[in-house]
Amino acid sequence: MRQIFFTRLWITALLLGLVWMWFSRAPQGSLTEGKIPAPQAGFLAPQVELSDLDGKITRLADLRGQVILLNIWATWCPPCRAEMPAIERVYEEYRQQGFNVLAVNSTAQDEAAQVAPFAAEYGLTFPVLLDESGLVTRSYQVKSLPTSFFIGRDGVIREVVIGGPMDEALLRSRVEALLKEKP
């Protein structure tokens, strides 16, 4: 009796499943992924327009075509400090191939005067940007520092890494994979 019940249940589930699959088809391009800005893998990276330590404005949109690591950090955050040398090494190794780093200091929750000495101490050669109003930290919905966004050449976020420190192998594997993608 139970066997018959299960068989009927199974056949009904298969048939209903087929109907639902047909009904819930999504035409190619109908999903919002990759089209609207949001701080999540699969979405366009939200706008970044910030000054660096020399007062020069850097815009994420101007870097389209490059692979970007957007790292949001603060000087007082131990894992942020711990991962900076690895980020610098990876940047130096892959910058000629089209890799760039935007190190956004969450200045709204840090001390602006500490940032330049920090960059000098760690010998950072990539752009260090100051998020003095906290706008970028908020628009990227950063809940924990550091938070890193790997962004492809098309401006779409491929991966979000919350917390740290990121291992050098993790950085290299992601950057190499993204550099292999066609522009």
Partner: protein, 238 residues
């Protein structure tokens, strides 16, 4: 969405925490169910421990093998705590292999073992849905329905909560069937697979990040339907 839980200077990853909680509660439920049936839970605990340990090892080794040149530059990365350096397929393969070898050496019967593990798997499905809700992954399509959630720049189907509802419903159905008794070996596990596959098939239809096949068919639904087919086929063969 709450990806981290800030406790003083410590930022705990909520999705990972949910999964750990799921393993703990699932093991507890598994033990209670086994005890009710007069079965010793120790081999099941060992099986899960060996499966998880081998799974983690396999996931790291598989990732390292696929990125051998990178790990040759920094061999200590093999021991890094970053979960991003894991290959889930390699982990699943070695974890399952180790569990099968252990089960065979201990003479565990396959269907009874799978039935014994079913409460753990059912609780893990609940924990997985909660982890997805915490991380904001597996998000839904845009909708104007009143219960839509504001996520990733749009009002969306709360697919993580649909999945949570399905997983809780499945847990209850499995508990009800177990209490009724009279189940043949393997029937509880197959019912779990059937319910989970059907739930996946339903929820996938609302997702906003499905991998699509030509014609707009959703890959996840096709896989879930094949799993559903397999669950019934295996049962009917016995």
């Amino acid at each position: 969405m709450f990806p981290t839980l800030q406790i003083g200077p410590l930022a705990l990853q909520t999705p990972g925490l949910m999964l750990l909680l799921g393993v703990w509660l699932g093991l507890d439920l598994m033990e209670r169910a086994l005890r009710q049936n007069g079965v010793n839970a120790e081999p099941f605990y060992n099986l899960v421990f060996i499966g998880i340990t081998a799974g983690l090892l396999g996931a790291r080794l598989s990732f390292a093998a696929q990125n051998a040149a990178i790990f040759a530059q920094s061999p200590l990365s093999l021991f890094a705590l970053n979960p991003g350096l894991l290959d889930p397929f390699g982990g699943l393969a070695l974890g399952m292999l180790a569990a099968v070898v252990y089960a065979r050496r201990k003479g565990l019967q396959i269907w009874q073992t799978l039935d014994g593990l079913t409460p753990l798997l059912a609780v893990l499905a609940v924990a997985g849905a909660l982890a997805a809700a915490a991380a904001g992954t597996f998000f839904g399509m845009e909708t104007s329905l009143p219960w839509a959630v504001d996520l990733w720049g749009a009002k969306r189907h709360p697919t993580q909560f649909y999945a949570l509802g399905m997983a809780l419903l499945n847990l209850n159905i499995l508990g009800w069937q177990k209490r009724r008794g009279g189940l043949q070996p393997g029937e509880l596990f197959r019912l779990f697979v059937l319910l989970t596959a059907f739930g996946w098939l339903l929820v996938e239809g609302f997702r906003g990040d499905s991998a699509l096949l030509p014609g707009g068919w959703r890959l996840g639904q096709v896989l879930a339907w094949l799993l559903l087919l397999a669950a019934g086929k295996i049962r009917n063969k016995e």
